[in-house]
């Protein structure tokens, strides 16, 4: 009996420790933020290539929502998943295919013409780039641009693996050589989808 109470106590303490240790990660990864921060959404943040700031420092990032803290989108599974969905819906697929490239450059590799930072990708989507990338300013709300940008980074494996989307429910984009392996894959049971999301 006493040992049972002790066990229950241990379980409670254990659960509390787990909450404290993993909470900060899972609360960001699993959060479903339905309403973007109105301030951030109305005024997309200035695209900055540097952290240097004259005068007063910028207001600190809000850790719980996106908006002023774009890295939040990379750690939030739902934002990445929404980005994946929007990537198809906004017809990014038309030029970039599912990351493999086509009329536009491939996004799965580690070459970045305009920088790999999420803010650079945001700028690319909002401003457009020469040679075909249109500007989506005023067409896609900032919240969704962040989501797409985060997803683009996930295609190159630049986002935390635990938050990155797995395969979607449609025809798979894959390199043809993957279909006919001559050898058992070196990674054992790990598919490329787990190490380098498509």
């Amino acid at each position: 009996m006493r040992a049972g109470i002790f066990a229950a106590f241990v379980i409670l303490v254990g659960a509390a420790v787990l909450l404290l240790v993993f909470g900060p990660i899972t609360y960001v990864r699993e959060a479903r933020e339905f309403r973007p921060d109105p301030v951030a959404a109305t005024a997309p943040p200035e695209i900055r290539m540097t952290d240097l700031q004259p005068g007063l420092p910028l207001p600190g990032p809000n850790p719980n929502t996106g908006g002023e803290n774009p890295s939040w989108y990379e750690r939030n599974a739902v934002a990445l998943s929404e980005g994946q969905r929007l990537f198809s819906a906004m017809n990014c697929v038309g030029c970039h295919s599912h990351g493999g490239g086509g009329m536009g450059p491939p996004l799965m590799d580690d070459k970045w013409i305009y920088g790999s930072d999420i803010k650079n990708i945001y700028a690319t989507i909002v401003e457009g780039r020469p040679n075909g990338m249109p500007s989506f300013r005023g067409k896609i709300p900032p919240e969704q641009v962040w989501q797409i940008a985060a997803y683009v980074r996930s295609m190159a494996g630049l986002t935390p693996k635990q938050a990155s989307p797995s395969r979607p429910d449609h025809l798979q984009a894959k390199a043809p050589e993957a279909s006919y392996p001559e050898q058992p894959p070196a990674g054992g049971l790990i598919p490329p989808s787990a190490t380098a999301p498509q």
């Binding site: 479903r32 339905f34 309403r35 973007p36 109105p38 959404a41 109305t42 819906a89 906004m90 005023g138 067409k139 896609i140 709300p141 919240e143 969704q144 429910d169």
Partner: protein
């Protein structure tokens, strides 16, 4: 022993109240729902009778056979087996009755099933319904592509005609259910389901997604408006027209905001350059009675609120908030109101 039956009776009394409503299988308005409702009343009557008999037998047994004693005092007493035979006959008779009832139910159900699920006629009006998270895309099929009608969350059908419904889903499983007309049918990705519905009197019937499909499963409803065939044809003709040209400067400005702004990324209005298929087709938005899959009435105020802040009405839905200066919003609303 009195409280429980009384509670049950009270509940039963309540249950007799609600046999009417736009989304009620006991208010059937079509031949299929009628048939099923008939089955319901038969089964309810028979099963209630069985239940009353069982509970009555239990209560009589309690009343007749209870003794006031400590159980322990009776331990080890010889057990009378005097009436095994008559008990056996009673049990066997009850089982026989049960089997007979179940057999009858099974046959009855088979017969009605064949009636309700007979194949739809080949020349019936055909509607494609596609379930999306969390709205219904409705398309009236026609051989001539220019006569295809696309709308959302609202289905018009002619009274007294069988209407074929083709169901599919591009995302998760939904279920199409208009209880006043028929039972439900699942929309399963990768498959197409075909069934038919028919209304035998004019009216507006509410339908709702019946398979859990995510955050806004609760707000994924639609309306079926059954109309006299002439009214239906008139509606269909109206829906076949492209959106009218904006009549004045304000609405023209509204249209420009629509086609150049974020709206056109997801929505289509035929007759304009907006042709995205990601959200509901808005060509005849103003002719619909509700917006957001039956969530809000289609009034100017609700439309404005929905455009500005959809996430507070349907948290998690796919429409992002759109922040427009008040003048632009007024122009957009004015334009949308012309889409009759």
């Amino acid at each position: 022993m009195s409280a429980k039956p009384r509670a049950a009776l009270a509940a039963l009394a309540l249950s007799l109240g609600g046999c009417e409503g736009p989304q009620n299988m006991l208010d059937s308005s079509g031949p299929q729902a009628d048939t099923i409702e008939g089955l319901w009343w038969v089964m309810l009557t028979v099963t209630s009778a069985v239940w009353f008999l069982v509970v009555a037998a239990m209560l009589v047994a309690i009343w007749r056979r209870r003794v006031r004693a400590e159980a322990l005092e009776l331990s080890g007493e010889p057990k009378p087996h005097r009436r095994e035979r008559s008990l056996g006959i009673a049990v066997a008779a009850s089982v026989g009755l049960t089997v007979a009832i179940l057999f009858a139910f099974t046959i009855y159900s088979f017969v009605l099933e064949r009636r309700v699920f007979a194949a739809p006629p080949k020349d019936a009006l055909e509607i494609q319904v596609t379930g999306h998270q969390w709205w219904w895309q409705v398309r009236y099929v026609h051989k001539d592509p220019s006569k295809i009608v696309e709308t959302a969350n609202e289905i018009h059908i002619p009274v007294g005609q069988k209407v074929t419904v083709r169901l599919s889903s591009p995302d998760v499983i939904h279920s199409f259910w208009v209880p006043n007309l028929h039972g439900k049918r699942d929309l399963i990705p990768g498959q197409e389901a075909i069934f038919w519905i028919e209304a035998d009197r004019p009216g507006s019937y509410r339908g709702q997604c019946a398979e859990f499909c995510g955050w806004q499963h609760a707000h994924m409803s639609f309306w079926v408006h059954a109309e006299e065939p002439e009214a239906f044809q008139a509606w269909l003709e109206q829906q076949r027209r492209p959106a009218p040209e904006p009549p004045d400067d304000l609405t023209r400005r509204g249209r420009d905001i629509f086609v150049t702004g974020p709206c056109a990324m997801c929505h289509a209005i035929s007759g304009t350059t907006a042709s995205a298929r990601f959200g509901p087709d808005l060509t005849h938005l103003a002719s619909r009675t509700t917006i957001a899959a039956g969530t809000l009435p289609n009034t100017r105020g609700h439309l404005a609120a929905w455009i500005a802040d959809p996430q507070s009405y349907k948290p998690g839905n796919r429409m992002p908030p759109t922040f427009l200066p008040p003048a632009d919003m007024q122009a957009l609303l004015a334009y949308l109101e012309t889409l009759r």
